[in-house]
Symmetry: C2
Subunit: 146 residues, 2 copies
């Protein structure tokens, strides 16, 4: 599993400074990073780089299967390297906490969906909303999910 830059190069793309910076930002981010976050990191040191280039590079990385998008319902999309394993998230509606979920937790669901619906689910990055431990207590009086 080569790193993203080398795979890009192997695919015949030029390794421009802009592309290197976008790739570095995506790889440096421990979790998921948005285009705007990548852009502001780059702009801090290289103010002439354009956000179009960030989006273009992300599109390229996505098309080549090197990064993946995830929509956490924030009104913007986040990106992460595909080779860093799968990510599932439990997102607290109250405090915004994002809890990483173990992949194994979803294996039974995947099996059931295949058996019951003949559906091959892509559970590489699932987002489940709800309330975390603390907020569930705080919210007991107000809200109830069923």
């Amino acid at each position: 599993m080569e790193d993203i830059l080398h795979r890009l190069e192997g695919l015949g793309y030029r390794l421009t400074p802009q592309r290197m910076m976008v790739v570095a930002a995506v790889e440096r981010a421990d979790g998921h990073i948005s285009a705007e976050e990548i852009y502001s990191q780059i702009r801090a040191r290289h103010p002439r780089v354009n956000i179009s280039t960030v989006y273009r590079t992300l599109d390229l990385l996505k098309a080549e299967g090197l990064v993946a998008e995830i929509d956490l319902g924030e009104g913007r999309v986040r990106y992460h390297p595909v080779d860093k394993g799968h990510h599932h998230h439990l997102i607290c509606r109250r405090c915004g906490a994002i809890i990483d979920m173990d992949e194994a937790t979803l294996i039974p669901l995947k099996g059931v969906l295949r058996e019951k619906y003949g559906f091959e689910s892509d559970l590489r990055h699932l987002a489940v909303f709800g309330h975390c431990l603390n907020c569930a207590k705080l919210n007991d009086a107000d809200v109830s999910f069923d």
Copy 2:
């Protein structure tokens, strides 16, 4: 379980023509409907109604717990009456098919998330992406989820 209009009235809101049209559109839609779809239905007969009013009414209905939002990852949000039961969707990435998923399918997952993470998940409308039966066959050669 009264209908949305009567519950709105009971809550002390005025039953304006605009609100009635928005509510009617939401209730008429069998699945989920977007703000833009509601707006264009209304505009066809009442061109002077403004899209702000549509959004405002949807916000009101949402705040009063009469309709719920769901984000199917389309870049826009869809709305449905809460009293029509919970909806879960299996969305085919290839053909766009939206398969309704039985609610019971998710009960085990809900339990596991509570036990393992202390997370009270809100599984009222979950969207799972993947490939439907037909497209899974067609796609066997191209793509593989794991």
